[in-house]
């Protein structure tokens, strides 16, 4: 097991390094940092001096190491667009994205798993078929369209919920939260549903197909023969064994939620890091793009690592085999 964890850690570091190389090339070779810093009337000589002083004439590997060192301390330079430090811009906007993704993930798990269990237990019931049909439509609707339709219905026509922004937020230290005020909570509802709906259908379909498979196995028949209640069979025996693939997908989807938050944030004018990234793509604000890339890379690597380690907690067979075999259905 230790070998397995070490190998996974090494892989994670390699992926992060690769992402770092891409971010570095972006930062250094796409768009000239000097142009962003000086006016048009600066002479070539002065530019060259500035270049020397900033270390832009050092050999590329040296620059890369410096870049990584700075990135590890959260220093990504100044934004081309606003001239603010990129690190601070991201930290200011991070709480909005994290709270939104957290609420969306809760929405997915709280509704997706029970819906999947239900449609898996009663696959022929009309309500299961209805849920299946709705989920197919949900997969075909792009995220931004779901957001727009929700805004049209709940804010423009019914005036129940706000259509943009975070509402009133409360600040604790550097963290701003939506959870402390009614208007902040109300502002979370529509964006969370928009962000989570696609993942909800995915989790529901996955739990459903796993449940269908598990319910056919011998140990379920045996549990029935022992006279256990339906409740104990469905949740204690069946659901527990569908959890391994569900954890994988749910974990990977958490990363996708944070990444896809950029679409939802644009629709709802939600002041998170995704919106910042879209603006930086529009203005080709390379330092912000590089920093966002590194952040998302780190996030995905950490999530993948945690998901792999969670297998050990969930599946006792893996602990017994010393982690030699990976779980199927990866």
């Amino acid at each position: 097991m230790l070998v397995f964890i070490l190998r996974r850690l090494l892989q994670s570091v390699a992926v992060l390094l690769a992402v770092g190389v891409v971010a570095f090339f972006l930062f250094r070779y796409v768009g000239d940092p000097i142009n962003a810093m000086v006016g048009q009337d600066t002479s070539l000589q002065e530019r060259e001096q500035l270049r020397d002083r900033l270390g832009l004439n050092d050999p590329a590997p040296v620059q890369f190491l410096k870049f990584l060192g700075n990135a590890a301390q959260g220093k990504f330079g100044l934004s081309y667009r606003t001239s603010e430090p990129v690190g601070r811009m991201i930290v200011e906007r991070l709480p909005a994205t994290i709270e939104l993704s957290f609420c969306a993930a809760m929405f997915v798990l709280v509704f997706g798993i029970p819906m999947g269990v239900y449609t898996g237990l009663y696959p022929r019931h009309w309500s299961s078929r209805l849920l299946q049909a709705i989920s197919l439509i949900g997969v075909s609707l792009p995220t931004f369209l779901i957001g727009i339709l929700l805004i049209l219905f709940f804010s423009v026509i019914l005036h129940w919920l706000p259509s943009f922004g975070r509402g009133q937020t409360v600040t604790f230290g550097w963290w701003t939260t939506n959870f402390a005020t009614i208007s902040g909570l109300k502002a979370l509802i529509l964006p969370s549903i928009t962000l989570g709906l696609f993942q909800l259908t995915l989790i529901m379909r996955l739990v459903r197909s796993e449940m269908l498979e598990v319910m056919r196995t011998d140990y379920i028949k045996f549990a029935r023969a022992r006279g256990l209640t339906n409740r104990a069979i469905n949740f204690g025996h069946a659901l527990k064994n569908t959890l391994v693939p569900v954890i994988t997908v749910a974990g990977l989807q958490l990363g996708a939620l944070i990444a896809f938050a950029l679409v939802t944030e644009t629709v709802f004018a939600w002041p998170g890091v995704g919106q910042l990234f879209i603006q930086s793509v529009q203005f080709s604000d390379i330092p912000v793009m590089a920093a966002y890339l590194m952040l998302i890379g780190l996030l995905f690597v950490v999530i993948n690592l945690i998901v792999d380690l969670l297998y050990f907690a969930v599946d006792p067979r893996l602990r017994a085999q010393g982690g030699a075999a990976r779980v199927s259905g990866h």
């Binding site: 796409v30 339709l149 879209i278």
Partner: protein, 305 residues
């Protein structure tokens, strides 16, 4: 011709197609959307992006069926510039389809080429290509596409970008979807390359290039076509999302996503039709394509027969 038709109507695929009414509906809908959008220069009542034919006084007319203010010349209403929504949708759908198809083709060619090389050559080449694929797979495709678009914007001016926007988007989406093809093709090539016919081709001295393209490739195309159909819906959604975010096609050449973005700015004041009709068209198109893709996957999968 009739013999060919008979072979088709006699086949397993045709039987499985006929026996699923949902698939038939999806196929008819897809054909309808493709025909109408590609004939839009003939069928559309207006040419919405020719400034000579639009007039601001026609602006913001509601659809005919919901309001007495509507006019039959603009059956689905007009936007703030006085452009006919129905005609915009027809032209926009054509662009969405072209971009979607083109980016699937780009992804497919790139994925097949890299997959063939990776599987057939093996060794270090294989390791490098597959590690790149792993890293890219860590990120959602839409992020990769956004990143590529942002890099291109950094390299050229805004005006140039608008001119080549279609190619940038096709390239960005194509590059973000190649991994799946490469992995599938590589897997099939690893199986195929040890079979006798490949050994025979090698023995008679054919070049590796010729063996890959003429002998191995035809035997690995089945799964690739299924992925391509399933990815078409995804590619159309990706393009619409990028255009909606304002980093895709410019408003001078609007696709369905661009139309939805234009309409979204007017949604708050109650002009819903500018957003909702392109939205319905996009959803119907993607749903139909996805249903066809699902069916094709099941029909070509011998395990499910």
């Amino acid at each position: 011709m009739s013999a060919w038709l008979h072979r088709l109507t006699d086949s397993d695929i045709w039987w499985s197609f006929k026996s699923s009414w949902l698939t038939v509906v999806a196929a008819v809908a897809t054909l309808f959307i493709i025909l109408v959008s590609f004939l839009s220069p003939i069928l559309a009542p207006h040419t919405p992006f020719d400034p000579a034919t639009i007039s601001l006084s026609d602006g913001l007319k509601p659809p005919v069926l919901v309001s007495a203010d509507g006019e039959w010349t603009f059956p689905l209403g007009t936007d703030d510039q006085g452009r006919d929504v129905l005609s915009s949708i027809m032209y926009g759908t054509r662009l969405s389809l072209i971009v979607g198809l083109a980016s699937v083709v780009v992804a497919m060619i790139m994925g097949i080429a890299l997959g063939l090389i990776s599987g057939y050559v093996g060794g270090t080449t294989d390791a490098v290509i597959m590690r790149i694929a792993d890293v890219q797979l860590t990120f959602p495709a839409i992020l990769v596409a956004l990143l590529i678009d942002g890099i291109v914007r950094g390299l050229i001016s805004v005006k140039q970008h608008d001119e080549i926007a279609v190619f940038v988007i096709v390239g960005a989406i194509g590059l973000s979807f190649w991994v799946q093809y490469a992995r599938t093709v590589r897997g099939s090539v690893l199986v195929e390359k040890n079979k006798e016919y490949v050994q025979a081709a090698r023995v008679i001295g054919l070049s590796p290039m010729l063996i890959m393209v003429r002998h191995v490739l035809p035997n690995v195309t089945g799964p690739v076509l299924v992925i391509a159909t399933l990815n078409l819906g995804l590619a159309i959604i990706s393009e619409a999302t990028l255009s909606f975010l304002g980093v895709g096609l410019p408003s001078t050449q609007p696709s369905l996503g661009t139309l939805i973005r234009i309409g979204n700015e007017l949604l708050q004041s109650g002009e819903w039709w500018i957003t909702v009709f392109p939205g319905i068209t996009l959803a119907a198109l993607v749903l139909a394509v996805n249903l066809l893709g699902d069916w094709l996957r099941d029909a070509l999968n011998p395990k499910l027969r």
